[in-house]
């Protein structure tokens, strides 16, 4: 760095003021001009978050929202060079600092997560699937999954109920958000635990339905299996209809 210590310090103080609004004495600056910078920078962060989290904005009081924005801007060192990805860092910041507890809105973190994944799935880089067959055996063949998805776990079902109401239905909820390959639309699917298990093993471990059923069969009582098989076969069919499952992999099994 070829800046003198003095110039470096000037820049630090300048940006410190922008982020915190703390009184500074920068010689040879125009105070109204300096004020504009704090206003413009904070507005930029505020507008980005308002756009990303319309539901959270609507359920928090103005004061609570302003607290989040001020604390985030002053206290979080933004890492992404792409401001449209900053809402993810905001969600993480709010979650880590437990603002949901402070505001007595324990669902806040889940709500931000839910709102963020819609942006995430909408914008994520295209994930080109491997070449796949349209026809196959849904039980034995390995399934090619649409990779443009996120699967998240929520304790408050903010995707099913109004935020306040979600407090009365806490539990383990699995939410799959994916991009429909025909029109790029983001769609949400609420997955029961059993389907989540199957989905993860198919999508992440590349297992066939039959292989997973075998694993489950070894751990559960045999009389349950026919019901599970029926249930899973319906689930697989629905996943194909929704274009979350795309087709069958070209795999040569021995």
């Amino acid at each position: 760095m070829l800046y003198s210590k003095e110039t470096y310090k000037l820049q630090q103080e300048f940006t410190r003021w922008c982020r915190t609004g703390e009184e500074i004495h920068l010689e040879n600056t125009r105070p109204e001009g300096l004020k504009q910078y704090r206003r413009l920078l904070r507005n930029n962060i505020n507008n980005t978050m308002k756009q990303a989290f319309p539901i959270a904005v609507s359920i928090l009081s103005e004061k609570e929202w302003a607290t989040l924005i001020d604390d985030f801007f002053a206290g979080h060192d933004a890492q992404t060079f792409q401001v449209w990805k900053l809402p993810f860092e905001f969600y993480q910041f709010v979650s880590k600092q437990s603002y949901g507890i402070t505001f007595k809105k324990p669902y806040l973190s889940d709500l931000l997560h839910f709102e963020w994944i819609e942006i995430d799935v909408h914008t994520m880089p295209d994930q080109i699937p491997e070449p796949f067959k349209k026809k196959g055996d849904p039980k034995k063949d390995r399934i090619e999954v649409n990779k443009e998805y996120r699967l998240i776990k929520l304790n408050f079902p903010v995707h099913l109920y109004a935020a306040e109401e979600s407090k009365n239905h806490t539990g383990n909820y699995f939410l799959l958000a994916y991009r429909h390959p025909d029109n790029f639309e983001v769609r949400f699917v609420d997955l029961p635990a059993l389907h989540t298990l199957f989905f993860e093993k198919i999508a992440q471990e590349g297992k066939s339905v039959q292989e997973i059923l075998k694993e489950i069969g070894e751990a559960s009582s045999p009389e349950l299996m026919p019901e599970i098989e029926k249930n899973i076969s319906k689930f697989v069919e629905t996943m194909f209809d929704q274009k979350i499952f795309l087709g069958y992999q070209h795999i040569y099994k021995n």
């Binding site: 760095m1 070829l2 800046y3 003198s4 110039t7 470096y8 000037l10 820049q11 630090q12 300048f14 940006t15 922008c18 982020r19 920068l26 010689e27 040879n28 600056t29 125009r30 105070p31 109204e32 001009g33 300096l34 504009q36 910078y37 413009l40 920078l41 930029n44 962060i45 980005t48 979080h76 060192d77 933004a78 890492q79 992404t80 060079f81 792409q82 401001v83 449209w84 900053l86 799935v121 909408h122 914008t123 994520m124 880089p125 295209d126 994930q127 443009e148 991009r179 790029f184």
Partner: protein
């Protein structure tokens, strides 16, 4: 990218995206985007971006290079930019003569570098490093600013020294010259005269907003005012033809209004840069 001497471009923004692809829409000679808004973008917008860049030549005008930061350039970011330049056959990569990152935090806006000798040295070194990495010259824009910070030289001296010593090119924003001249009470034409006009790769034109009687904010959200058109006319008369971009970032008007502004820019360019018109004028 130049089809003929006169090239009038328009910033490609999501809000007006449809106008770039529809029949009878806007047909600029080229478009300009911030790479930060499009790198790694997939889905619907990735698809639109592919279509638009298939149709128009592209200039990149970035936001996060932060050439005036004390810290190291973000090489991971620049690697992505380099690839993006390759993928989209980009003619020019520009950013601003400002800083946007400090103490390991992005600030997402353009902050004024103190106009000082040590800052010139620092920025020159950074520009050289970035140019070496990208294997192409960098183009930097004279930014608008609402206060200088403990300046020890004029803005003209600051910009000229950096351009001269680093070998970078200049993106001359004529509206910014007008805004700065108004806010900091100097003469805009004298400022233009002091610029290294031979190093200007392209020009920005935009609107601004007077927030109080003695302060203008560079919003890119209004129509270009006549004194800025006049300053543009004054400027380009002294220059060889370069592409000219209309910057409009929000508060978008009817398409017709943008067309009219682009037509007006074209007329002024033709007046100054088309030889037969010049000859006619001499008769």
């Amino acid at each position: 990218m130049v089809k003929e001497d006169i090239n009038i471009g328009l910033g490609f923004r999501r809000e007006i995206a449809g106008n770039f692809l529809e029949e009878g829409g806007l047909h600029p000679d080229f478009i300009e985007v911030a790479p930060e808004n499009w790198i790694d973008m997939g889905g619907y917008w990735g698809d639109v971006f592919k279509k638009v860049t298939d149709k128009y030549p592209l200039i990149l005008h970035g936001l996060s290079l932060s050439i005036g930061s004390p810290e190291e350039p973000d090489w991971a970011f620049l690697k992505k930019v380099k690839q993006f330049i390759k993928d989209y056959h980009v003619a020019v990569y520009s950013d601003h003569l400002t800083f946007a990152k400090m103490d390991n935090a992005h600030l997402y806006d353009l902050l004024p570098i103190p106009f000082r000798e040590d800052a010139v040295k620092h920025v020159v070194q950074r520009i050289k490093e970035v140019q070496d990495f990208l294997e192409r010259p960098l183009t930097l824009e004279n930014a608008s600013y609402y206060t200088s910070v403990a300046a020890e030289m004029t803005e003209q001296q600051f910009i000229s020294s950096i351009v001269e010593e680093s070998g970078c090119n200049l993106l001359l924003d004529v509206n910014n010259v007008y805004v700065n001249a108004f806010n900091h009470k100097y003469d805009a034409r004298e400022f233009i005269d002091a610029m290294p006009l031979g190093r200007v790769t392209y020009i920005h034109m935009a609107g601004h907003y007077k927030i109080q009687p003695d302060l203008i904010i560079d919003t890119h959200g209004e129509a270009i005012i006549d004194p800025v058109f006049d300053l543009f006319d004054y400027t380009i008369e002294k220059m060889a033809p370069v592409p000219v971009l209309l910057e409009r970032d929000f508060n978008f008007p009817e398409m017709e209004e943008l067309k009219t502004e682009m037509d007006k820019l074209r007329t002024i360019c033709k007046k100054n840069w088309t030889s037969d018109v010049v000859q006619q004028g001499n008769i």
